[in-house]
């Protein structure tokens, strides 16, 4: 119960639907942790987030943020929470500055000047009406309103949506800084690369159910790694295939690609018997891991 976010058996069935949008979800986000919530569209990511923020009522189960119940203590919770909605809907007739002033009136920033600092970092246009801004520029304003009061918990639904790569980097930097000051961050995404870049742990959700949860560093450790190896001599295919946990492809008699799960030692023992001209490890493709989890989705 000491997590920044604790969810126990949370389920949500919308009125008029016989299917659970969220089914028996249990997870926790530790203090100072960045948790990536990954899943395809319609998997239940936004339902989870909107339940946590008490916009929708859970059908069953409970959850706490900073030890407070999401339903009964919702107002108190929001003193310490920053939220960004998936579609970053803002007031179209207000300028960015007016909008942030409105949000600041409802929850004043801890430090004067921090809003301007964030606006500068994101190169946000504050003087134009929000309806005249592009989606990416509106997203920047949405991010500023979520971070501007330096909350202890950030709940962000698809935060990088619409941002250009430079601004995505700025967002990742802001996430790291928030983590460094002790904030816990729960963010949903369908982009594994950004989860890999920023998150400590990742939860995979599909059809309303949490199907896997892993420490990102462990995913990297347990995932199959791919090596491209160039030999000066010619190893036999059978010899390479004898490496435990290896799948081998030979593009020429002296060039092999080895996909290796688990321990590296058996591969190096075999390689040591040969003259190796080059060995190149491909960057870990967590996307493949992701696809592995979601294999059934496209069928």
């Amino acid at each position: 119960m000491d997590g920044a976010i604790n969810i126990q058996g949370l389920s949500k069935k919308y009125a008029g639907s016989d299917k659970f949008a969220l089914e028996n979800l249990t997870l926790s986000v530790h203090p100072g942790e960045v948790y990536g919530f990954l899943g395809p569209n319609g998997a239940g990511k936004s339902t989870t987030i909107r339940t946590l923020l008490n916009f929708i009522q859970p059908t069953s189960g409970t959850a706490q943020i900073l030890g407070l119940d999401i339903v009964t203590d919702s107002v108190a919770i929001k003193k310490s929470v920053g939220y960004l909605a998936g579609d970053a809907v803002l007031y179209p007739k207000l300028t960015g500055r007016e909008f942030l002033s409105y949000m600041g009136d409802l929850q004043p920033p801890k430090h004067a000047g921090y809003v301007n600092e964030l606006a500068k970092r994101f190169q946000a246009e504050l003087n134009m009406k929000l309806r005249d801004l592009s989606k990416g520029n509106r997203q920047k304003i949405g991010l500023i309103q979520a971070f501007m009061h330096e909350p202890a918990v950030l709940v962000l639904d698809e935060p990088t949506s619409g941002l250009d790569p430079l601004m995505q980097e700025e967002f990742f930097k802001l996430v790291r800084e928030s983590k460094a000051r002790g904030a816990s961050i729960f963010f949903s995404s369908h982009n594994l690369a950004e989860i890999q870049k920023t998150c400590d742990r990742v939860g995979f959700i599909r059809q309303g159910k949490l199907i896997a949860e892993q420490v990102v560093a462990e995913v990297a450790a347990t995932a199959a790694r791919t090596f491209d190896i160039t030999f000066a001599d010619v190893p036999t295919r059978a010899e390479l295939r004898s490496i435990a946990g290896a799948k081998v492809e030979m593009s020429s008699p002296s060039q092999a690609t080895i996909h290796l799960s688990g321990d590296l030692a058996p591969m190096f023992r075999v390689l040591a018997r040969h003259k190796v001209l080059g060995i190149n490890q491909r960057e870990l493709d967590l996307e493949q891991e992701f696809l592995h989890f979601y294999k059934g989705e496209s069928k």
Binding site: Y14, A15, R50, L53, N54, F55, I56, Q57, S74, V75, A76, K78, K79, V81, G82, Y83, A85, D87, V89, L90, Y91, K93, L94, Y102, M103, D105, L106, Q107, Q145
Partner: protein
């Protein structure tokens, strides 16, 4: 009251345009009184031909062309409460509902603001807008009162305007209460509030000529509103207390249904 303040700020232009429109309507209605006043006898004669039931729909007095009769039949009996009710129903059906439809309500509720507080602050913004527009109407009527030769007391005019404001607020509260129940309520709120308002007006008006409507008329808010009597200086405060109580009940109903349901 930050949400009230920002809602008023966001609605300042529409409030201004409503005020301008009503000022124009009232002015156009009242500036014709000097020319009508001189033909009272002839006009009374021709209006005597109109059936009683038809007359009941637009006035609560037999003397249509006396100052009180004119102001009541042309403005206070139907048009002013009607136009203010259109504004109030529009506000009641959109103050929460528009934020919910567009998704901006999540921005407000992600701040430390309870749903009850949000709804009450929005309702207060609606009341302020309605009050400002009503006050502008009152000022214009008072400004033209002597100029066009009506010479009715300022206090009765203010009380009649207050009644119109309260009636409109009541129908606006119906719209808010219906819109607060959820998606279906949002779609139905204008229709339901307009039907309640129309039924109240028709039943109250026709009860003077249709005897079996006398009892149901007691349930109609308009039944307790007699502008000709008010403008003549005969009025009571208890109907206003009654309207306020009904508005309070509707607000409590709105808060109750809005507090625990799914947003969106």
């Amino acid at each position: 009251m930050k949400i009230t303040k920002w809602t008023l700020k966001q609605r300042k232009w529409s409030t201004l345009w409503w005020s301008v429109g009503l000022v124009a309507y009232i002015t156009l209605t009242l500036i014709f009184y000097p020319s009508i006043k001189n033909q009272t006898a002839q006009l009374d004669k021709s209006f005597d031909q109109i059936p009683q039931s038809a007359k009941a729909l637009f006035t609560d007095t037999q003397d249509l062309f006396t100052p009180v009769g004119y102001l009541s039949s042309q403005l206070f009996y139907l048009m002013l409460p009607l136009l203010l009710a259109v504004l109030a129903i529009g506000l009641g059906s959109s103050l929460i509902a528009r934020e919910e439809d567009s998704g901006t309500i999540e921005l407000l509720l992600s701040r430390p603001v309870s749903r009850s507080s949000l709804l009450v602050q929005k309702a207060l913004a609606g009341l302020v807008i309605l009050f400002v527009v009503s006050a502008v109407c009152l000022l214009v009527i008072l400004g033209l009162n002597n100029a066009v030769g009506l010479h009715i007391g300022a206090e009765p005019i203010a009380v009649a305007t207050l009644y119109s404001f309260a009636l409109a607020a009541l129908f606006g509260a119906v719209a808010l209460a219906v819109a607060s129940t959820g998606r279906a309520g949002r779609l139905a709120s204008v229709g339901v509030a307009a039907m309640v308002g129309l039924a109240s007006y028709l039943v109250a008006s026709l009860s003077s000529v249709v005897s079996w409507l006398e009892w149901p008329a007691k349930l109609a808010p308009n039944h307790y509103y007699h502008p000709a009597e008010i403008l003549s200086g005969h009025y009571e405060w208890w109907p206003l207390v009654g309207y306020t109580a009904v508005i309070a009940v509707l607000l409590v109903a709105a808060v109750t249904s809005f507090r625990r349901r799914d947003i969106g």
